[in-house]
Amino acid sequence: MTEADKPGQKQDRGRLCIDGEECKGCGLCIEACPPRVIAMSEPLNHYGYRTAIYAGAGCTGCGVCFMACPEPGAITVYRLVNAPGPGARSAQVAVEEASACAGS
């Protein structure tokens, strides 16, 4: 669970998932991100690259990082598509997927 998921807080408009095995750590997404919510990891992945990581909150779902990224599938951008409300069960799948991914 990320900060944004805590009850009572306003839900982010977007979410980010970065594949730590596909990312080569060029940093173009960090430069491109308008709300500045992407950073570089300290640990290296098994290819020896530091990789981009999502700060976990503040994504607007604009998709700019995706376009700036040279890797086909290193970044996936999610956007909040329906108004928050009770009973949004199907949303959980997407949210869990995004959360799990962002943490990797």
């Binding site: 998921d5 977007g14 409300g85």
Partner: protein
């Protein structure tokens, strides 16, 4: 876990469907591209893949890859792929588009590929207004080979071949491909974009999508030049390289639309006159062959019982009639209803260079026109004999133009007919007919073709009646020579 108040997230930007999920690369690298971190190619690849997805043309798209860092398009794009020789992508793309007009053909080229070795190809493809889309990735340098100067290298820019920086006095000025091509009348759309910042990147994606859409709508030739960072060869970080595109490259290569005739094309459709493809029945008339001579027609004159798979290599000096000899043989085989191939191989010289050709005649479809191990070698001089005699199959024949067959070339299982064919032809009145004397001997040795087919082939290939008559006499002389050798 998300509370009940959570809204739904859906992916809005993710891996394009036109990319493979895993790449057929080395083990452990199957989910990584081969590009360096921060390479512009990856970004351009994504734009193309996205455009293919958006236009719904994945199942009919054919990418033509270049030589250069962009070479591996076939690892990544889940579409048809052809990898062209250096600089030849526009020619290959032309062939694909014309033979499969329903396909969507994308030429992908770098600046070394397109603007140097392939400059003529792109110029003429653009000038013909081929209905293809070309994506031209310009990083102002030869990257794959380690950073040599390209035609697009900036003045003052250091490279391995311009260690003091490009000097306009000796290396000229950067080539502006968009400006150059936009002077032509045929192209439909030419735009230069960059990958220098977010705004430029979005514009580049739009331009590539538009260039592809133009082809889908049949509007004609579109080219998008993309100013693209090469952090590795430029010796910069990816972010520095991106800024360099924006701050330096863009000053030399102005961004913008250089040519847009899409509106007028949308009205007039394709400029090319629409001539319907000829029907199969029209082909004999167009090719000038009598219908009864076509392979598979009932009038096939030639039905001997035995299997035929004749592989012949004919070699000599240019000007000796090497290629014509092969052509007559192949043409006669065609006339006799056989499958044939004729593959010439010669140097740039018109005279006195070496020349040789491969001929195959078979009852079955021919897999390759190359003849590596001939059954018959026709060697019109000694160097040609020495070059190919070892390749002749055991039990095969060498027909050699010389009085004596060199002793060191003889071996068991090699049949030889050595005669001074040039002198013999001279006796007939023309020493240039030596090739036909040798062909006569070859026909007599192999016995695979009827004389009528040879007559038809000669009549088609030799226009001058005086030469036809001479060639007929030369062929007869060659047949006699072989018969004489068996009797003697």
């Amino acid at each position: 876990m998300p509370t009940e108040s959570a809204g739904e997230y859906a992916p809005v930007q993710s891996r394009a469907r036109s990319f493979y999920g895993r790449y057929e690369r080395k083990e452990d690298l199957e989910h990584q591209t081969h590009f360096c971190p921060g390479c512009g190619h990856g970004i351009v690849h994504k734009m193309i893949a996205r455009a293919i997805d958006d236009l719904g043309v994945q199942d009919r798209t054919i990418m033509v890859g270049p030589v250069g860092c962009g070479v591996f398009t076939y690892y990544y794009f889940d579409v048809g792929n052809v990898q062209a020789a250096h600089g030849r992508a526009p020619a290959v793309a032309t062939a694909i588009k014309r033979s499969r007009p329903e396909s969507i053909v994308i030429g992908y080229q770098g600046d070394g590929d397109l603007s140097a070795i392939g400059a003529a190809e792109i110029l003429h493809a653009a000038n013909r207004g081929e209905n293809i889309t070309v994506v031209f990735v310009n990083n102002a340098i030869y990257s794959m080979t380690g950073g040599q100067a390209a035609p697009t290298t900036l003045v003052g820019m250091k490279s391995t071949t311009t260690p003091n920086g490009r000097n306009a006095a000796t290396e000229g000025y950067p080539l502006h491909v968009c400006e150059l091509l936009s002077t032509l009348q045929a192209p439909a759309y030419i735009e230069r974009v960059g990958l220098g910042d977010n705004k430029q990147i979005w514009q580049a994606a739009r331009a590539i999508r538009r260039a592809l859409a133009n082809q889908v709508h049949g509007l004609g030739f579109s080219l998008i030049e993309v100013l693209s960072p090469c952090p590795t060869i430029w010796k910069m970080t990816p972010v520095e390289a991106q800024r360099w595109v924006r701050g330096v490259m863009e000053n030399e290569f102005r961004l913008g639309v250089f040519c847009d005739r899409t509106n007028e094309r949308a009205v007039s459709a394709d400029l090319r006159p629409v001539t319907p493809d000829p029907a199969l029945d029209d082909l004999p008339r167009i090719l000038g062959v009598a219908r009864e001579r076509l392979p598979g027609s009932e009038a096939q004159a030639f039905t001997p019982g035995r299997e035929i798979d004749l592989e012949v290599r004919i070699a000599g000096f240019g000007g000796q009639g090497v290629l014509l000899l092969g052509e007559v043989l192949a043409e006669a085989g065609l006339d006799a209803g056989l499958e044939v191939s004729w593959l010439p191989s010669y140097g740039p010289e018109m005279r006195s260079g070496t020349s040789n050709c491969h001929v195959r005649l078979s009852r079955h479809a021919i897999d390759s026109p190359l003849v590596a191990s001939p059954v018959v070698l026709v060697a019109m001089n000694e160097p040609s004999l020495r070059k190919f005699d070892r390749s002749v199959r055991s039990g095969g024949w060498v027909i050699y133009n010389g009085r004596e067959f060199p002793a060191d070339c003889a071996r068991d299982g090699l049949n030889v007919l050595a005669r001074p064919f040039t002198e013999l032809a001279d006796e007939l009145g023309e020493k240039r007919a030596a090739n036909m004397v040798m062909l006569g001997a070859l026909l007599e040795i192999t016995g695979v073709l009827p004389q009528a087919s040879i007559d038809h082939a000669l009549a088609r290939l030799v226009k001058n009646p005086r030469w036809v008559e001479l060639d007929q006499r030369a062929l007869a002389r060659g047949r006699e020579l072989y018969q004489g050798s068996r009797e003697g």
